[in-house]
Amino acid sequence: MSPAAQSHGFLSPSGAEVAFVLVGLVTFGAAIVTVTTRQIVHAALWLVVALGGIAVEYLLLTAEFIAWVQVLIYVGSVVVLLLFGLLLTKAPIGRSPDADSGNRWAALLVAAASAAVLVWVVVDAFRATWIDLDGPAAGSAAVTGASLFRHWVLPFEALSVLLLAALVGAIALSRRQPPAAAAGSRAPDAAQEGGR
């Protein structure tokens, strides 16, 4: 149990807690809209809101470096990538009635059940646990950098290899097929269409 537990009551929230809960509500709402909206491009935009909300939560948890990384990578690049993906697969703009599969009720059930279980467990476990945010900064760039390059150098370098591999793999996968292979793969199609 944290030593700060004595000074904070559950019914007397601090300012940070109020802000966290409010931003959390916004984030959760955005996430819900992301996974339920029928307009596919809107889903991507609501995802921006949700990810940005998480970045704010990081800030409130004093992990500022990660918050900026979150904004840079997720909001800046991942969402843009997703939007490009939507464009390339010719996702319909506007309401598309078939955005959800026939599995949605089962999905809702499973999600609700797991949410209930997880929230119950977490609340049950950490009912009386407080985070002490007043200590030395735990997530500043300096601290994170020192830790990363002192203790986590090897995984960090391995990660760079992984990223390189992902880069090459993504290029290899999305590259247009060479003419010979393309002809080979298209010939049966032509035959099928000719036969039809």
Binding site: G24, I32, Y58, I66, S77, L82, G85, T129, L159, L173
Partner: protein, 133 residues
């Protein structure tokens, strides 16, 4: 700050992601839901790192790694979705059912041939897209 707040938020986000993964039809929407789940985990990691005051900051380091891996994942995932879309003219998850068991009296078997006539139309569309790009 009460630890329950970030933890519960993380769980709720995760379950929203679960719902998205299970319910969405478009593969890119599924990928978005996966991102939500990953972020929920990240939030959990950060919250517990801050609570435990870990000397190595393993929670935050892992968060960074997760973000990097997630970026790689989204790149590869999108490339695969694109390839599937080019090959089959659709990126709907519930129509990629090649591993289904074709059985007598199975309705999916009857669906299979019904799908087939639509496929070349999608395919020519895809080719046109590539040509214009």
């Amino acid at each position: 700050m009460h630890l329950v707040f970030p933890a519960v938020l993380s769980m709720l986000l995760f379950c929203a992601g679960v719902y998205g993964v299970l319910a969405r039809r478009n593969a890119i929407l599924v990928l978005m839901a996966v991102e939500l789940m990953l972020n929920a985990v990240n939030l959990n990691l950060v919250a517990f790192d801050v609570w435990l005051r870990d000397r190595l900051h393993s929670g935050q380091a892992l968060t960074l790694f997760t973000i990097a891996v997630a970026a790689a994942e989204i790149g590869i995932g999108l490339a695969i979705v694109l390839m599937v879309y080019r090959g089959r003219g659709t990126s709907d998850v519930d129509r990629l059912r090649d591993t289904a068991e074709p059985g007598p009296g199975d309705q999916d078997a009857a669906d299979g041939p019904a799908d087939a006539p639509g496929t070349p139309a999608h395919r020519t569309e895809a080719h046109r897209t590539e040509a214009s790009a």
